[in-house]
């Protein structure tokens, strides 16, 4: 605990994890709001705009929390990870700078118009504001994922004589294949989060028997989009992401699977507990040869185990990495099944009468949050012990002048701030839900 590195890592991991609870919903909702506004424009039916109006209010609260929890992340590069910033600023400063210039200005300029501007703007103008927010938030996502991708799989750089890492090819860096795959995977996952939240709202209203028109609409939009995007998050994007890990971070793959021994026909571990001290998985249930196929495309491929690599290159937290990956993949599968059932019943016209499934949809809204959090944990724990893979170790990236006491203090400060933010968020979101969807004339919609 007296080690500053421990506190630096805890602070970044904690603040980034908390922050990402909000943008994953706003990025997903941004697309759903665009879809709802487009349906409203096309059909001229007010119910789509009523639904959009409700979700824009939820979006606004989450966006505000996302902005204020995002600011400290940008600052931590300089405050806590000074050496990392000094060494790589010439490269990652590009994407972080572009995020401000191209994404944040766009988002901040149109946010007010989306939230407060429906009456001032024409329907097309308000649709335009929704489009601008979608574009802005998804652009912002790209610049952040591209920055992370450089840390996972550095390309387009050169190591200068003074040891700093400098930009060599802008396009190679910006269009890093890792960034393209990770971006698709991440954005699609955010739409899954949005869809599950929308579907859960529809299920909640249906079960309570209120706002029935809106409940139906939310259930339909939520489960159709949820089904499509739950599949896309696994195939092809999750699959491609796995193949990239297998190719460029084979040690991380071995740790994710808790695989110690190398060999062909590697089995996929479904369940089991890693025992790192004894180099084995306890109580395993394995599907033979499937890991070889997933990682390299043939059932007979050799998949290297951890023992093949020097121990100082192993990720430090193999247990957490293993569980994060299995939780993500397990929940991902469950979400496809759940949304598949919902769409099937929707098609048969029985979804709003099947109460067990409505309960499941309502209670399942945390699943995508857990899965994305676990997914980022896989990415970040898997990258260890490197800060920039193969180039800079995490231990060498921290600020040399900041001690453990200072960092412990700010970490605790964040813990306090986030507790307060969580309470406020719950209170305000609870009020919005109690308030329900409202038509343009200020009356409740679809009261039965």
């Amino acid at each position: 605990m007296g080690d500053p590195l421990f506190w630096h890592r805890l602070q970044f991991g904690f603040t980034a994890t908390y922050h990402y609870l909000f943008p994953q919903l706003t990025m997903g909702l941004a697309l759903i709001i665009v879809v709802l506004k487009a349906l409203g424009l096309r059909t001229g039916e007010p119910r789509y705009n009523d639904a959009a109006r409700f979700w824009i209010r939820i979006f606004g609260i989450n966006f505000a929390v996302g902005v204020v929890t995002g600011i400290p992340l940008e600052f931590q590069f300089g405050t806590n990870w000074g050496n990392f910033s000094r060494l790589t600023g010439g490269v990652i400063g590009q994407t972080l700078g572009m995020e401000g210039m191209f994404a944040f200005f766009l988002e901040s300029s149109f946010l007010g118009l989306l939230i407060w501007g429906e009456k001032k703007l024409t329907p097309k103008g308000h649709f335009g504001a929704a489009l601008a927010l979608w574009l802005g938030s998804w652009l912002s996502g790209y610049f952040i994922v591209a920055t992370n991708a450089f840390m996972q799989h550095p390309v387009g750089h050169v190591v200068a004589v003074d040891g700093t890492i400098q930009l060599a090819s802008f396009w190679a860096f910006l269009l890093n294949p890792w960034a393209l795959v990770q971006y698709a995977h991440t954005m699609i996952a955010s739409v899954v989060t949005g869809s599950f939240v929308v579907a859960a709202m529809g299920a909640f209203w249906t079960l309570k028997g209120i706002h029935m028109e809106q409940a139906k609409l939310n259930l339909r939009v939520g489960s159709v989009m949820g089904f499509v995007f739950s599949i896309l998050v696994a195939f092809p994007t999750g699959d491609l992401q796995g193949k990239l890990v297998a190719k460029h971070q084979p040690i991380a793959l071995a740790a994710m699977e808790g695989r110690f021994e190398s060999g062909p026909h590697a089995g996929l571990t479904l369940i089991g507990q890693p025992n790192v001290a004894q180099r084995k998985i306890e109580n395993p249930i394995r599907v033979p040869s499937v890991l070889s196929f997933i990682a390299y495309g043939t059932f007979s491929s050799n998949v290297k185990g951890l023992l093949e690599f020097p121990e100082d290159q192993w990720p430090q937290n193999i247990e957490l990495l293993y569980y994060s990956f299995h939780i993500m993949a397990g929940l991902g599968t469950l979400m496809i099944v759940l949304m598949g059932l919902a769409v099937l019943l929707l098609w048969k016209g029985r979804l709003d009468r099947t109460r067990p499934l409505l309960w499941a949809l309502l209670l399942a809204f945390p699943f995508p949050y857990i899965a994305t959090t676990a997914g980022w944990a896989v990415t970040e724990f898997g990258r260890q012990p490197w800060l920039v893979y193969g180039l800079l170790r995490t231990a060498q990236g921290a600020s040399p002048t900041v001690n453990a006491g200072d960092t412990a203090f700010t970490t605790l400060g964040f813990a306090g701030i986030f507790v307060v933010l969580s309470v406020l968020w719950l209170f305000l979101i609870g009020r919005e839900i109690a308030h329900g969807p409202v038509s343009q004339h200020g009356t409740g919609v679809g009261h039965e």
């Binding site: 606004g60 609260i61 505000a64 929390v65 902005v67 204020v68 600011i71 400290p72 940008e74 600052f75 590069f77 300089g78 405050t79 806590n80 000074g82 050496n83 910033s85 000094r86 060494l87 790589t88 600023g89 010439g90 990652i92 400063g93 590009q94 972080l96 700078g97 572009m98 995020e99 401000g100 210039m101 191209f102 944040f104 200005f105 766009l106 901040s108 300029s109 946010l111 007010g112 118009l113 407060w116 009456k119 050169v158 200068a160 700093t164 400098q166 930009l167 060599a168 802008f170 600020s399 040399p400 002048t401 900041v402 200072d406 700010t410 400060g413 701030i417 406020l424 305000l428 009020r431």
Partner: protein, 348 residues
């Protein structure tokens, strides 16, 4: 290229101060100019569409500093560790205050957020001003290119000062009064009725204070860092900037006398922009001065990223900057005219 990036980063920071300055100013004066809930919603409605975008100038300046002068960003941010987090937490509190206040129609709820909005709006310019004071006075950078500074020592100047000493506190106060005066003109321009009248009355007092503090701060700077004025004869840009800020100041008083508050507001923008530009021109090429030895100074020449990165950054910067300016113009045009408190649930 290095010199160009020095100016681009300085320009963005100066624009940030002018832009976020007016909404900080509105926050500082919030409780003084607006007494009723309707009046306070008028103040928040005036800055509501702008404050978030104004803050983006800070993030965008930070991004530009990161890509062009990573060593300055790393040394400065980690050296001012605790002070910087106090600043970031104030930014967070302020954002939440503005955004959450309107959600609940309850007197106590709104009084609470009015209070946090004002407190954070006062703290922020003091902290930013103190940061500028530290840049002007210098910090104990050593051969490793890093420094560590306590929040305060004995409040005196010297080779081992604290983040706060009498000089940086003075600059902090100067910043506080200046953005309050800047904000009072914005409110006088954008509002009418009692809020307008109170902002108008306050602006005269505040601009008198600005004059006094400006003279004090300029004199104190010659004690904290005598080299600043030594550059003056060799820096034509500093002369130009001096001309801009003196002109801006004259326009402020002209606008105040004729009761033309848009004019006065533009004048105060020019005053802040010119003053910061003159400061940057006098400091060039030093970005972070060492109080230990001039050889340890971080400058635009020894702290920059590689040449290819700087050239590449310039290409997208030249695309992004006009876009950002375009959004600002669009927002001001869309929200032109006097602000009126929106209906409950339809605005801040």
């Amino acid at each position: 290229m290095n010199e160009l990036w020095f100016w681009l980063v300085s320009a963005m920071l100066a624009i940030y101060v002018v832009m976020d300055g007016f909404d900080f100013g509105a926050g500082i004066l919030h409780l003084l100019v607006a007494k009723t809930n309707e009046e306070r919603r008028e103040v928040l409605g005036a800055i509501g569409p702008f404050w978030d975008g104004n803050e983006v100038w800070l993030l965008a300046s930070g991004g530009s500093l990161f890509l062009a002068f990573p060593k300055v960003l790393a040394a400065g941010f980690s050296g001012f560790y605790l002070a910087l987090w106090l600043l970031v937490w104030s930014l967070m509190l302020r954002g939440i205050s503005i955004e959450f206040r309107s959600h609940v129609q309850d007197g106590l709820w709104r009084h609470f957020w009015d209070g946090t909005f004002t407190v954070s709006s006062v703290l922020l310019p003091v902290l930013f001003g103190a940061a500028l004071g530290n840049v002007l006075r210098g910090v104990p950078l050593d051969a490793t290119g890093t420094f560590r500074m306590p929040l305060w020592t004995d409040f005196r100047l010297g080779p081992h000062p604290g983040v706060l000493d009498w000089y940086t506190v003075l600059i902090g106060l100067f910043a506080l009064v200046t953005v309050a005066a800047h904000g009072s003109l914005f409110l006088a321009w954008k509002t009418e009725g009692p809020v307008h009248d109170r902002a108008k009355a306050l602006s005269r007092t505040l601009w008198g204070l600005v004059l006094v503090l400006w003279i004090l701060a300029s004199y104190a700077t010659s004690m904290a860092n005598p080299a600043v004025y030594r550059n003056l004869p060799r820096a034509p840009l500093a002369w130009l900037a001096t001309f801009v800020f003196l002109g801006g100041l004259a326009v402020v008083f002209l606008g105040l006398r004729r009761e033309r508050y848009l004019l006065a507001f533009l004048g105060s923008g020019a005053f802040i922009l010119g003053l910061l530009a003159a400061t940057a021109a006098n400091l060039y090429p030093v970005m972070l001065k060492s109080t230990l030895a001039p050889a340890f100074d971080l400058t635009a020449l020894n702290a920059s990223a590689g040449a290819h990165g700087l050239r590449t950054g310039l290409v997208w910067w030249l695309i992004g900057f006009p876009l950002a300016i375009g959004y600002v113009i669009f927002l001001f045009r869309f929200h032109r005219g006097k602000v009126k408190a929106a209906g409950e649930g339809e605005g801040y």
